[in-house]
Protein backbone atom coordinates (compact mmCIF):
# COMPACT_ATOMS: atom_id res chain seq x y z
CA UNK A 1 0.00 0.00 0.00
CA UNK A 2 2.86 2.30 0.79
CA UNK A 3 4.10 2.31 -2.76
CA UNK A 4 0.63 3.19 -3.99
CA UNK A 5 0.49 6.04 -1.52
CA UNK A 6 3.89 7.23 -2.66
CA UNK A 7 2.85 6.98 -6.26
CA UNK A 8 -0.18 9.11 -5.57
CA UNK A 9 2.12 11.69 -4.03
CA UNK A 10 4.31 11.60 -7.10
CA UNK A 11 1.30 11.92 -9.33
CA UNK A 12 0.12 14.87 -7.30
CA UNK A 13 3.52 16.56 -7.26
CA UNK A 14 3.92 16.24 -11.03
CA UNK A 15 0.58 17.83 -11.59
CA UNK A 16 0.69 20.72 -9.17
CA UNK A 17 2.38 23.34 -11.30
CA UNK A 18 5.63 21.42 -11.27
CA UNK A 19 6.62 22.86 -7.91
CA UNK A 20 9.83 21.56 -6.38
CA UNK A 21 11.75 22.14 -3.20
CA UNK A 22 14.30 24.79 -4.03
CA UNK A 23 17.57 25.56 -2.33
CA UNK A 24 18.22 28.98 -0.88
CA UNK A 25 21.22 30.94 -2.14
CA UNK A 26 23.88 32.03 0.34
CA UNK A 27 23.52 35.54 1.79
CA UNK A 28 25.32 38.69 0.66
CA UNK A 29 28.36 39.50 2.80
CA UNK A 30 29.61 43.08 3.05
CA UNK A 31 32.90 44.12 4.64
CA UNK A 32 35.64 46.64 3.95
CA UNK A 33 38.40 44.09 3.94
CA UNK A 34 39.15 40.66 5.40
CA UNK A 35 42.32 42.18 6.88
CA UNK A 36 42.18 44.35 9.97
CA UNK A 37 44.36 45.92 12.63
CA UNK A 38 41.96 46.23 15.56
CA UNK A 39 38.62 44.85 14.40
CA UNK A 40 36.60 44.02 11.32
CA UNK A 41 32.88 44.45 10.80
CA UNK A 42 30.79 42.22 8.63
CA UNK A 43 27.23 42.94 7.47
CA UNK A 44 25.16 40.04 6.21
CA UNK A 45 22.13 40.63 4.01
CA UNK A 46 19.42 38.30 2.78
CA UNK A 47 16.21 39.99 1.63
CA UNK A 48 13.98 36.95 1.33
CA UNK A 49 10.83 36.68 3.46
CA UNK A 50 10.56 33.75 5.84
CA UNK A 51 14.26 33.02 6.00
CA UNK A 52 16.95 33.39 8.65
CA UNK A 53 20.73 33.68 8.59
CA UNK A 54 22.79 31.53 10.92
CA UNK A 55 26.54 31.70 11.45
CA UNK A 56 29.47 30.20 13.29
CA UNK A 57 32.85 31.60 14.25
CA UNK A 58 34.42 28.29 15.23
CA UNK A 59 34.85 26.71 11.81
CA UNK A 60 31.83 24.41 12.17
CA UNK A 61 29.11 24.19 9.53
CA UNK A 62 26.19 26.42 10.54
CA UNK A 63 22.97 24.60 11.36
CA UNK A 64 19.59 26.03 12.27
CA UNK A 65 20.50 26.01 15.95
CA UNK A 66 23.69 28.02 15.31
CA UNK A 67 23.61 31.69 16.35
CA UNK A 68 21.00 33.74 14.51
CA UNK A 69 22.39 36.76 12.67
CA UNK A 70 20.68 39.94 13.86
CA UNK A 71 23.21 42.74 13.52
CA UNK A 72 26.70 43.28 12.08
CA UNK A 73 29.38 40.99 13.49
CA UNK A 74 32.51 42.55 14.90
CA UNK A 75 35.62 40.40 14.62
CA UNK A 76 38.65 40.93 16.82
CA UNK A 77 40.28 37.48 17.07
CA UNK A 78 43.48 37.31 14.93
CA UNK A 79 42.25 34.62 12.53
CA UNK A 80 38.51 34.11 12.54
CA UNK A 81 36.64 31.88 10.16
CA UNK A 82 33.10 33.16 9.60
CA UNK A 83 30.69 30.61 8.15
CA UNK A 84 27.25 31.75 7.10
CA UNK A 85 24.18 29.96 5.79
CA UNK A 86 20.50 30.73 5.14
CA UNK A 87 17.53 28.66 6.28
CA UNK A 88 13.80 28.86 5.62
CA UNK A 89 10.72 26.70 5.79
CA UNK A 90 9.99 25.01 2.49
CA UNK A 91 13.52 25.49 1.16
CA UNK A 92 16.67 23.48 1.41
CA UNK A 93 19.31 25.42 3.40
CA UNK A 94 21.90 27.28 1.33
CA UNK A 95 25.45 26.24 0.79
CA UNK A 96 27.83 27.71 3.35
CA UNK A 97 29.78 30.87 2.61
CA UNK A 98 33.11 31.04 4.38
CA UNK A 99 35.23 34.13 4.90
CA UNK A 100 38.37 34.26 7.02
CA UNK A 101 39.25 37.50 8.78
CA UNK A 102 42.93 38.11 9.33
CA UNK A 103 44.69 40.46 11.72
CA UNK A 104 47.76 42.47 10.73
CA UNK A 105 51.15 41.03 11.43
CA UNK A 106 54.55 42.69 11.57
CA UNK A 107 55.30 45.88 9.72
CA UNK A 108 57.61 45.62 6.76
CA UNK A 109 58.65 47.64 3.77
CA UNK A 110 59.02 46.18 0.31
CA UNK A 111 62.51 46.33 -1.18
CA UNK A 112 61.76 44.43 -4.36
CA UNK A 113 58.57 43.41 -6.02
CA UNK A 114 58.07 41.67 -9.36
CA UNK A 115 56.12 44.15 -11.46
CA UNK A 116 52.51 43.09 -11.82
CA UNK A 117 50.62 43.12 -15.10
CA UNK A 118 49.51 46.60 -16.17
CA UNK A 119 45.89 45.60 -15.93
CA UNK A 120 46.13 44.24 -12.38
CA UNK A 121 48.73 46.33 -10.62
CA UNK A 122 46.85 46.92 -7.37
CA UNK A 123 48.26 49.82 -5.39
CA UNK A 124 51.83 49.09 -6.40
CA UNK A 125 54.25 48.65 -3.53
CA UNK A 126 51.50 49.42 -1.02
CA UNK A 127 49.38 46.44 -2.01
CA UNK A 128 50.78 43.57 0.03
CA UNK A 129 50.64 45.07 3.51
CA UNK A 130 47.83 47.65 3.38
CA UNK A 131 45.15 45.51 5.09
CA UNK A 132 42.98 45.81 2.00
CA UNK A 133 41.57 42.86 0.14
CA UNK A 134 39.81 39.56 0.31
CA UNK A 135 37.34 40.16 -2.51
CA UNK A 136 36.81 37.37 -4.97
CA UNK A 137 36.08 39.74 -7.85
CA UNK A 138 38.83 39.79 -10.46
CA UNK A 139 38.23 43.50 -10.95
CA UNK A 140 38.88 44.43 -7.32
CA UNK A 141 41.70 47.02 -7.30
CA UNK A 142 43.30 45.19 -4.38
CA UNK A 143 44.86 42.46 -6.53
CA UNK A 144 48.31 42.18 -8.02
CA UNK A 145 48.01 39.95 -11.10
CA UNK A 146 50.92 38.10 -12.72
CA UNK A 147 51.39 35.81 -15.66
CA UNK A 148 55.15 35.35 -15.29
CA UNK A 149 57.13 32.25 -14.26
CA UNK A 150 58.33 33.36 -10.83
CA UNK A 151 57.02 36.13 -8.63
CA UNK A 152 59.64 37.52 -6.25
CA UNK A 153 59.37 39.85 -3.26
CA UNK A 154 61.93 41.10 -0.76
CA UNK A 155 60.73 42.53 2.55
CA UNK A 156 62.69 44.56 5.07
CA UNK A 157 61.46 44.23 8.65
CA UNK A 158 63.47 47.29 9.73
CA UNK A 159 65.29 45.42 12.47
CA UNK A 160 66.04 41.88 13.46
CA UNK A 161 62.66 40.42 14.40
CA UNK A 162 61.34 37.06 15.53
CA UNK A 163 59.31 35.45 12.70
CA UNK A 164 57.55 32.10 12.65
CA UNK A 165 54.89 32.26 9.96
CA UNK A 166 53.85 33.98 6.72
CA UNK A 167 50.31 34.11 5.42
CA UNK A 168 49.41 34.68 1.74
CA UNK A 169 46.02 35.56 0.32
CA UNK A 170 45.42 34.36 -3.24
CA UNK A 171 42.50 34.40 -5.63
CA UNK A 172 41.32 31.07 -7.03
CA UNK A 173 39.16 31.43 -10.15
CA UNK A 174 40.22 28.83 -12.69
CA UNK A 175 37.40 29.77 -15.05
CA UNK A 176 39.17 33.12 -15.48
CA UNK A 177 42.62 31.46 -15.67
CA UNK A 178 43.53 32.42 -12.09
CA UNK A 179 45.18 29.49 -10.30
CA UNK A 180 46.77 29.03 -6.91
CA UNK A 181 50.57 28.79 -7.24
CA UNK A 182 52.40 25.45 -7.39
CA UNK A 183 54.91 26.38 -4.76
CA UNK A 184 55.84 29.11 -2.31
CA UNK A 185 59.45 29.35 -1.11
CA UNK A 186 60.47 31.65 1.74
CA UNK A 187 64.03 32.59 2.75
CA UNK A 188 65.29 34.88 5.49
CA UNK A 189 68.46 36.80 6.33
CA UNK A 190 69.44 37.86 9.82
CA UNK A 191 70.97 41.15 8.71
CA UNK A 192 70.98 43.30 5.61
CA UNK A 193 74.12 41.78 4.17
CA UNK A 194 73.75 38.24 5.47
CA UNK A 195 73.17 35.24 3.23
CA UNK A 196 69.61 34.05 2.80
CA UNK A 197 68.70 30.82 4.51
CA UNK A 198 65.68 28.64 4.01
CA UNK A 199 62.70 29.62 6.17
CA UNK A 200 60.18 27.16 4.78
CA UNK A 201 58.14 26.25 1.76
CA UNK A 202 54.80 24.87 0.77
CA UNK A 203 53.74 22.95 -2.32
CA UNK A 204 50.18 23.21 -3.49
CA UNK A 205 48.70 20.20 -5.23
CA UNK A 206 46.19 21.26 -7.83
CA UNK A 207 42.73 19.98 -7.03
CA UNK A 208 39.66 19.63 -9.20
CA UNK A 209 38.48 23.02 -10.43
CA UNK A 210 36.81 25.06 -7.73
CA UNK A 211 33.42 26.56 -8.46
CA UNK A 212 33.37 30.28 -9.13
CA UNK A 213 35.91 32.46 -7.38
CA UNK A 214 37.23 32.52 -3.83
CA UNK A 215 40.03 33.90 -1.71
CA UNK A 216 42.36 31.20 -0.43
CA UNK A 217 44.94 31.64 2.31
CA UNK A 218 48.18 29.68 2.33
CA UNK A 219 50.69 29.63 5.16
CA UNK A 220 54.40 28.98 5.23
CA UNK A 221 55.79 28.10 8.62
CA UNK A 222 59.35 27.74 9.78
CA UNK A 223 60.34 24.60 11.68
CA UNK A 224 61.33 26.94 14.50
CA UNK A 225 61.06 30.65 15.07
CA UNK A 226 63.87 32.59 13.38
CA UNK A 227 65.34 36.05 13.81
CA UNK A 228 65.04 37.85 10.51
CA UNK A 229 65.84 41.28 9.14
CA UNK A 230 64.94 40.50 5.52
CA UNK A 231 62.58 38.04 3.91
CA UNK A 232 62.81 36.77 0.34
CA UNK A 233 59.75 35.16 -1.21
CA UNK A 234 59.52 33.23 -4.45
CA UNK A 235 56.11 32.18 -5.70
CA UNK A 236 55.88 29.75 -8.59
CA UNK A 237 52.64 30.02 -10.60
CA UNK A 238 51.19 27.16 -12.66
CA UNK A 239 53.01 27.46 -16.00
CA UNK A 240 50.72 25.14 -17.92
CA UNK A 241 47.06 24.91 -17.12
CA UNK A 242 45.89 21.28 -16.72
CA UNK A 243 44.10 19.13 -19.27
CA UNK A 244 40.62 19.74 -17.88
CA UNK A 245 40.92 23.46 -18.55
CA UNK A 246 39.50 24.94 -21.75
CA UNK A 247 42.84 26.70 -22.30
CA UNK A 248 45.01 23.74 -21.28
CA UNK A 249 48.72 24.27 -21.70
CA UNK A 250 48.47 28.06 -21.46
CA UNK A 251 50.21 29.99 -18.67
CA UNK A 252 47.96 30.60 -15.69
CA UNK A 253 47.55 33.87 -13.81
CA UNK A 254 48.51 34.40 -10.19
CA UNK A 255 46.54 36.92 -8.11
CA UNK A 256 47.73 37.99 -4.67
CA UNK A 257 46.54 40.85 -2.46
CA UNK A 258 48.26 40.49 0.88
CA UNK A 259 51.19 38.86 2.67
CA UNK A 260 51.23 38.85 6.45
CA UNK A 261 54.33 38.19 8.51
CA UNK A 262 53.89 36.86 12.06
Amino acid sequence: MRSIFSFLLLFYSLHSNGQEQFQLAPPLLKYNSIFFSKSAQINILFAQKGTTIHYTLDGKEPVESSPLYKSPLVITRPFTIVKVRTFGAGYRPSETTTVSFIKSGLNYSIKEQSPASDKYKGQGLLTLNDNKGGFSSLGSPTWLGYNIDTVTYTFDLGKKTAVKELLFDFLQNEGSWVFLPEKILVYYAESENAQYKIFGDVSITPTAPAKGASCVQKRVQSAKQVNARSILIKIVPVKKMPDWHEAKGEHSWLFIDEIKVY
Partner: protein
Protein backbone atom coordinates in the same frame (compact mmCIF):
# COMPACT_ATOMS: atom_id res chain seq x y z
CA UNK B 1 -8.45 -2.23 -15.79
CA UNK B 2 -9.23 -1.65 -12.12
CA UNK B 3 -7.66 1.19 -10.22
CA UNK B 4 -5.18 -0.94 -8.31
CA UNK B 5 -3.89 -2.59 -11.45
CA UNK B 6 -3.51 0.79 -13.15
CA UNK B 7 -1.49 2.12 -10.26
CA UNK B 8 0.77 -0.94 -10.21
CA UNK B 9 1.49 -0.67 -13.89
CA UNK B 10 2.10 3.03 -13.81
CA UNK B 11 4.31 2.75 -10.75
CA UNK B 12 6.36 0.21 -12.67
CA UNK B 13 6.86 2.71 -15.44
CA UNK B 14 7.76 5.50 -13.05
CA UNK B 15 10.42 3.26 -11.54
CA UNK B 16 11.66 2.79 -8.03
CA UNK B 17 14.50 5.22 -8.50
CA UNK B 18 12.00 8.03 -8.15
CA UNK B 19 10.96 7.03 -4.64
CA UNK B 20 13.36 9.31 -2.72
CA UNK B 21 12.09 12.34 -4.56
CA UNK B 22 8.55 11.32 -3.79
CA UNK B 23 9.30 11.28 -0.08
CA UNK B 24 10.98 14.66 -0.34
CA UNK B 25 7.97 16.08 -2.09
CA UNK B 26 5.85 15.42 0.98
CA UNK B 27 7.52 18.43 2.59
CA UNK B 28 7.38 20.72 -0.40
CA UNK B 29 5.37 23.88 -0.32
CA UNK B 30 3.86 26.06 -2.94
CA UNK B 31 6.70 28.49 -3.56
CA UNK B 32 5.73 31.96 -4.74
CA UNK B 33 8.43 33.96 -6.49
CA UNK B 34 8.70 37.72 -6.84
CA UNK B 35 7.42 40.77 -5.02
CA UNK B 36 4.63 43.35 -4.93
CA UNK B 37 2.20 42.98 -7.84
CA UNK B 38 4.57 40.73 -9.83
CA UNK B 39 4.43 37.33 -8.16
CA UNK B 40 4.61 33.98 -9.92
CA UNK B 41 4.54 30.22 -9.63
CA UNK B 42 7.34 28.42 -11.45
CA UNK B 43 7.05 25.41 -13.72
CA UNK B 44 10.52 24.09 -14.53
CA UNK B 45 9.16 21.32 -16.76
CA UNK B 46 7.26 23.55 -19.18
CA UNK B 47 9.55 23.34 -22.19
CA UNK B 48 11.09 19.91 -21.59
CA UNK B 49 11.42 17.84 -24.78
CA UNK B 50 12.99 14.54 -25.81
CA UNK B 51 16.67 15.55 -25.76
CA UNK B 52 17.57 12.79 -28.19
CA UNK B 53 15.31 14.26 -30.86
CA UNK B 54 15.15 17.96 -30.06
CA UNK B 55 18.37 18.91 -28.27
CA UNK B 56 19.31 22.37 -26.99
CA UNK B 57 22.67 23.88 -26.06
CA UNK B 58 22.26 27.37 -24.68
CA UNK B 59 18.66 28.53 -24.75
CA UNK B 60 19.38 32.13 -25.63
CA UNK B 61 16.21 34.02 -26.38
CA UNK B 62 12.46 33.70 -26.83
CA UNK B 63 9.66 35.71 -28.44
CA UNK B 64 5.93 35.22 -28.92
CA UNK B 65 4.30 35.63 -32.32
CA UNK B 66 0.79 36.91 -33.06
CA UNK B 67 -0.56 33.35 -33.19
CA UNK B 68 0.47 32.99 -29.56
CA UNK B 69 3.33 30.62 -30.32
CA UNK B 70 6.52 30.77 -28.22
CA UNK B 71 9.65 30.80 -30.37
CA UNK B 72 12.95 29.72 -28.81
CA UNK B 73 16.40 30.33 -30.29
CA UNK B 74 19.24 27.95 -29.36
CA UNK B 75 22.78 27.56 -30.71
CA UNK B 76 22.12 23.84 -31.25
CA UNK B 77 22.27 23.48 -35.04
CA UNK B 78 20.06 20.39 -35.04
CA UNK B 79 17.18 22.79 -34.45
CA UNK B 80 18.13 26.42 -33.98
CA UNK B 81 14.52 27.42 -33.64
CA UNK B 82 12.03 25.49 -31.53
CA UNK B 83 8.41 26.60 -31.59
CA UNK B 84 6.06 25.73 -28.71
CA UNK B 85 2.48 26.48 -27.89
CA UNK B 86 1.80 28.19 -24.56
CA UNK B 87 1.27 24.83 -22.87
CA UNK B 88 4.78 23.76 -23.82
CA UNK B 89 3.73 21.44 -26.61
CA UNK B 90 6.23 21.26 -29.44
CA UNK B 91 4.78 22.62 -32.68
CA UNK B 92 7.73 22.68 -35.05
CA UNK B 93 11.47 23.27 -35.37
CA UNK B 94 13.75 24.69 -38.05
CA UNK B 95 17.24 26.04 -38.62
CA UNK B 96 20.64 24.38 -38.80
CA UNK B 97 22.84 27.21 -40.05
CA UNK B 98 23.09 29.35 -36.91
CA UNK B 99 25.98 27.93 -34.83
CA UNK B 100 26.23 31.15 -32.85
CA UNK B 101 22.50 31.85 -32.57
CA UNK B 102 22.15 34.42 -29.78
CA UNK B 103 19.69 37.24 -30.32
CA UNK B 104 16.08 36.85 -31.41
CA UNK B 105 13.74 39.73 -32.15
CA UNK B 106 10.29 39.65 -33.73
CA UNK B 107 8.98 42.54 -35.77
CA UNK B 108 5.65 43.03 -37.48
CA UNK B 109 6.56 44.46 -40.86
CA UNK B 110 3.36 45.78 -42.44
CA UNK B 111 1.42 42.74 -41.31
CA UNK B 112 4.12 40.17 -41.93
CA UNK B 113 6.00 38.97 -38.88
CA UNK B 114 9.75 38.60 -39.35
CA UNK B 115 12.61 37.49 -37.13
CA UNK B 116 16.06 39.02 -36.65
CA UNK B 117 18.71 36.53 -35.53
CA UNK B 118 22.09 37.67 -34.21
CA UNK B 119 24.74 35.03 -34.79
CA UNK B 120 27.90 35.36 -32.67
CA UNK B 121 29.87 32.84 -34.72
CA UNK B 122 28.85 34.05 -38.17
CA UNK B 123 29.33 37.72 -37.16
CA UNK B 124 26.08 38.52 -38.89
CA UNK B 125 22.49 39.53 -38.34
CA UNK B 126 20.00 37.50 -40.36
CA UNK B 127 16.43 38.52 -41.06
CA UNK B 128 14.07 35.61 -41.73
CA UNK B 129 10.41 34.76 -42.07
CA UNK B 130 8.74 32.96 -39.16
CA UNK B 131 9.45 29.66 -40.92
CA UNK B 132 13.10 30.38 -41.52
CA UNK B 133 13.37 31.74 -45.06
CA UNK B 134 16.24 34.24 -45.19
CA UNK B 135 15.16 37.74 -46.21
CA UNK B 136 18.30 39.78 -45.53
CA UNK B 137 21.78 39.37 -44.06
CA UNK B 138 23.75 42.18 -42.41
CA UNK B 139 27.52 41.73 -42.39
CA UNK B 140 29.99 43.47 -40.10
CA UNK B 141 29.55 47.26 -40.17
CA UNK B 142 32.55 48.48 -42.17
CA UNK B 143 30.70 51.76 -42.72
CA UNK B 144 31.31 52.76 -39.10
CA UNK B 145 35.04 52.90 -39.72
CA UNK B 146 35.50 51.03 -36.45
CA UNK B 147 35.97 47.51 -37.76
CA UNK B 148 38.66 45.99 -39.96
CA UNK B 149 37.33 42.42 -40.09
CA UNK B 150 34.21 40.41 -39.36
CA UNK B 151 35.70 38.72 -36.29
CA UNK B 152 35.72 42.01 -34.40
CA UNK B 153 31.96 42.16 -34.65
CA UNK B 154 29.95 39.79 -32.41
CA UNK B 155 26.33 40.96 -32.47
CA UNK B 156 24.16 39.89 -29.56
CA UNK B 157 20.84 41.68 -30.05
CA UNK B 158 18.62 43.76 -32.29
CA UNK B 159 15.63 46.00 -31.81
CA UNK B 160 13.46 47.39 -34.59
CA UNK B 161 11.89 50.87 -34.59
CA UNK B 162 8.33 51.34 -35.88
CA UNK B 163 9.75 52.84 -39.11
CA UNK B 164 11.80 49.68 -39.63
CA UNK B 165 15.16 51.07 -38.46
CA UNK B 166 17.34 48.26 -37.17
CA UNK B 167 19.53 48.77 -34.10
CA UNK B 168 22.17 46.08 -33.60
CA UNK B 169 24.06 45.70 -30.31
CA UNK B 170 27.61 44.43 -30.81
CA UNK B 171 27.65 43.15 -27.23
CA UNK B 172 30.51 40.66 -27.53
CA UNK B 173 32.48 42.74 -30.01
CA UNK B 174 33.13 46.45 -29.64
CA UNK B 175 29.94 47.35 -27.75
CA UNK B 176 28.66 49.73 -30.41
CA UNK B 177 25.00 50.07 -31.28
CA UNK B 178 24.75 50.25 -35.06
CA UNK B 179 21.63 51.79 -36.57
CA UNK B 180 20.45 50.86 -40.09
CA UNK B 181 17.33 51.75 -42.04
CA UNK B 182 14.84 49.03 -42.94
CA UNK B 183 16.83 48.22 -46.09
CA UNK B 184 19.93 47.54 -44.02
CA UNK B 185 21.70 50.78 -44.99
CA UNK B 186 23.97 52.18 -42.31
CA UNK B 187 22.73 55.33 -40.57
CA UNK B 188 24.93 55.81 -37.50
CA UNK B 189 26.52 54.13 -34.53
CA UNK B 190 26.75 55.02 -30.84
CA UNK B 191 27.71 53.51 -27.49
CA UNK B 192 31.02 51.66 -27.65
CA UNK B 193 33.59 51.47 -24.90
CA UNK B 194 35.23 54.37 -23.14
CA UNK B 195 35.27 56.44 -20.00
CA UNK B 196 32.07 58.34 -19.31
CA UNK B 197 28.39 57.70 -18.89
CA UNK B 198 27.54 57.48 -22.60
CA UNK B 199 29.77 54.44 -23.10
CA UNK B 200 28.88 50.84 -22.27
CA UNK B 201 30.60 47.67 -21.18
CA UNK B 202 29.09 44.52 -22.68
CA UNK B 203 26.18 45.95 -24.68
CA UNK B 204 24.39 42.64 -24.43
CA UNK B 205 20.90 43.88 -25.22
CA UNK B 206 19.01 46.68 -26.91
CA UNK B 207 15.31 47.53 -26.92
CA UNK B 208 12.96 50.25 -28.15
CA UNK B 209 10.93 51.67 -25.28
CA UNK B 210 7.62 53.25 -26.29
CA UNK B 211 6.13 53.40 -22.77
CA UNK B 212 6.40 57.18 -22.72
CA UNK B 213 3.89 58.13 -25.44
CA UNK B 214 5.65 61.46 -25.98
CA UNK B 215 9.11 60.09 -26.54
CA UNK B 216 10.42 56.72 -27.68
CA UNK B 217 13.89 55.86 -26.44
CA UNK B 218 16.46 53.13 -27.01
CA UNK B 219 17.51 51.18 -23.92
CA UNK B 220 20.93 49.53 -24.07
CA UNK B 221 22.27 46.96 -21.62
CA UNK B 222 25.67 47.63 -20.06
CA UNK B 223 25.89 44.25 -18.43
CA UNK B 224 29.28 44.41 -16.76
CA UNK B 225 28.35 47.80 -15.33
CA UNK B 226 25.11 46.30 -13.98
CA UNK B 227 22.84 48.88 -15.60
CA UNK B 228 20.74 49.95 -18.55
CA UNK B 229 21.49 53.16 -20.45
CA UNK B 230 18.90 55.20 -22.29
CA UNK B 231 19.55 56.97 -25.59
CA UNK B 232 17.39 58.94 -27.98
CA UNK B 233 16.48 57.18 -31.20
CA UNK B 234 19.36 59.16 -32.73
CA UNK B 235 21.83 57.70 -30.27
CA UNK B 236 22.24 60.64 -27.87
CA UNK B 237 22.82 59.46 -24.32
CA UNK B 238 20.00 60.39 -21.89
CA UNK B 239 20.60 58.66 -18.58
CA UNK B 240 21.46 55.47 -16.73
CA UNK B 241 19.22 53.04 -14.87
CA UNK B 242 21.57 51.58 -12.26
CA UNK B 243 20.84 48.01 -11.15
CA UNK B 244 23.62 47.24 -8.66
CA UNK B 245 24.46 43.58 -8.40
CA UNK B 246 22.48 42.53 -11.47
CA UNK B 247 24.16 41.31 -14.67
CA UNK B 248 21.12 42.22 -16.73
CA UNK B 249 20.60 40.74 -20.18
CA UNK B 250 18.29 42.40 -22.70
CA UNK B 251 15.42 44.60 -21.59
CA UNK B 252 12.03 43.25 -22.65
CA UNK B 253 9.05 45.59 -22.48
CA UNK B 254 5.46 44.45 -22.08
CA UNK B 255 2.76 46.91 -21.05
CA UNK B 256 4.10 49.32 -18.44
CA UNK B 257 6.83 46.98 -17.28
CA UNK B 258 10.41 46.21 -18.24
CA UNK B 259 11.55 42.63 -17.65
CA UNK B 260 15.09 41.31 -17.80
CA UNK B 261 16.84 38.04 -17.18
CA UNK B 262 19.76 38.58 -14.81
CA UNK B 263 22.56 36.25 -15.86
CA UNK B 264 24.14 36.28 -12.42
CA UNK B 265 24.58 38.19 -9.19
CA UNK B 266 27.67 40.37 -9.17
CA UNK B 267 28.46 39.10 -5.67
CA UNK B 268 28.57 35.46 -6.80
CA UNK B 269 29.99 35.47 -10.29
CA UNK B 270 30.04 32.30 -12.38
CA UNK B 271 28.25 30.39 -9.62
CA UNK B 272 24.78 29.94 -11.15
CA UNK B 273 23.48 32.98 -9.26
CA UNK B 274 20.93 34.34 -11.74
CA UNK B 275 17.40 35.66 -11.26
CA UNK B 276 14.84 37.78 -13.12
CA UNK B 277 14.15 41.45 -12.45
CA UNK B 278 11.05 43.53 -13.22
CA UNK B 279 10.96 47.34 -13.40
CA UNK B 280 7.85 49.54 -13.47
CA UNK B 281 7.25 52.37 -15.94
CA UNK B 282 9.43 54.68 -13.84
CA UNK B 283 12.22 52.12 -14.22
CA UNK B 284 12.06 51.27 -10.55
CA UNK B 285 12.59 47.62 -9.59
CA UNK B 286 9.33 46.21 -8.23
CA UNK B 287 10.06 42.50 -8.21
CA UNK B 288 12.96 40.08 -8.36
CA UNK B 289 12.05 36.52 -9.20
CA UNK B 290 14.32 34.25 -7.15
CA UNK B 291 16.16 37.43 -6.14
CA UNK B 292 16.33 39.83 -3.22
CA UNK B 293 13.37 42.02 -2.32
CA UNK B 294 13.95 45.43 -3.93
CA UNK B 295 15.02 48.12 -1.46
CA UNK B 296 15.40 51.80 -2.33
CA UNK B 297 17.14 54.52 -0.39
CA UNK B 298 16.89 57.27 -2.95
CA UNK B 299 16.90 56.61 -6.67
CA UNK B 300 19.29 53.65 -6.80
CA UNK B 301 18.24 50.22 -5.53
CA UNK B 302 20.33 48.49 -2.88
CA UNK B 303 22.60 45.77 -4.29
CA UNK B 304 20.50 42.91 -5.65
CA UNK B 305 21.33 39.20 -5.57
CA UNK B 306 19.89 35.74 -6.00
CA UNK B 307 18.04 34.38 -2.97
CA UNK B 308 16.60 31.13 -4.29
CA UNK B 309 18.48 28.80 -6.60
CA UNK B 310 15.64 28.37 -9.05
CA UNK B 311 17.74 29.36 -12.08
CA UNK B 312 21.38 28.96 -13.05
CA UNK B 313 22.08 31.58 -15.73
CA UNK B 314 18.86 33.16 -17.06
CA UNK B 315 19.54 34.72 -20.45
CA UNK B 316 16.20 36.00 -21.65
CA UNK B 317 12.63 36.39 -20.59
CA UNK B 318 9.53 36.41 -22.80
CA UNK B 319 6.14 37.66 -21.64
CA UNK B 320 3.14 36.22 -23.43
CA UNK B 321 -0.30 37.72 -24.14
CA UNK B 322 -1.58 36.30 -20.82
CA UNK B 323 1.28 37.84 -18.78
CA UNK B 324 3.02 34.48 -18.28
CA UNK B 325 6.81 34.59 -18.27
CA UNK B 326 9.16 32.19 -20.02
CA UNK B 327 12.81 32.03 -19.03
CA UNK B 328 15.56 30.77 -21.36
CA UNK B 329 18.92 29.94 -19.81
CA UNK B 330 22.54 29.95 -20.94
CA UNK B 331 25.01 27.25 -19.92
CA UNK B 332 22.57 25.65 -17.53
CA UNK B 333 22.95 21.96 -18.28
CA UNK B 334 20.96 21.97 -21.55
CA UNK B 335 17.83 22.89 -19.66
CA UNK B 336 14.71 23.78 -21.63
CA UNK B 337 12.79 27.01 -20.91
CA UNK B 338 10.82 27.45 -17.69
CA UNK B 339 7.40 29.06 -17.39
CA UNK B 340 6.17 31.38 -14.67
CA UNK B 341 2.46 31.97 -14.15
CA UNK B 342 1.22 35.12 -12.38
CA UNK B 343 -0.26 34.72 -8.91
CA UNK B 344 -3.32 36.90 -8.65
Amino acid sequence: MNRRKFLQQSAGVAGLALLPSILKSERKQDVIFGHNNKKYRLDTKWGALDFGRYPVKDCHEMVQDSKGRIILLTNETKNNVIIYDKQGKLLTTWGSEYPGAHGLTLFNENGQEVLFICDNSRHQVIKTTLDGRVLMTLDYPKETGKYTKAEEYVPTETTIAPNGDIYVADGYGKDFIIQYNYKGEYIRHFGGRGTGAKFVKNAHGVCMDHRDKNRSVVIVTSREENCFKRYTTEGVYIDTIPLPGAWVCRPVIKGDYLYAAVLQSDSRQWMQSGFVTILDKNNKVVSNIAGSEPVYNGSTPAEMYQTVKAFDYPHDVCIDDEENLYVAQWNSGHVYPYKLTPVV
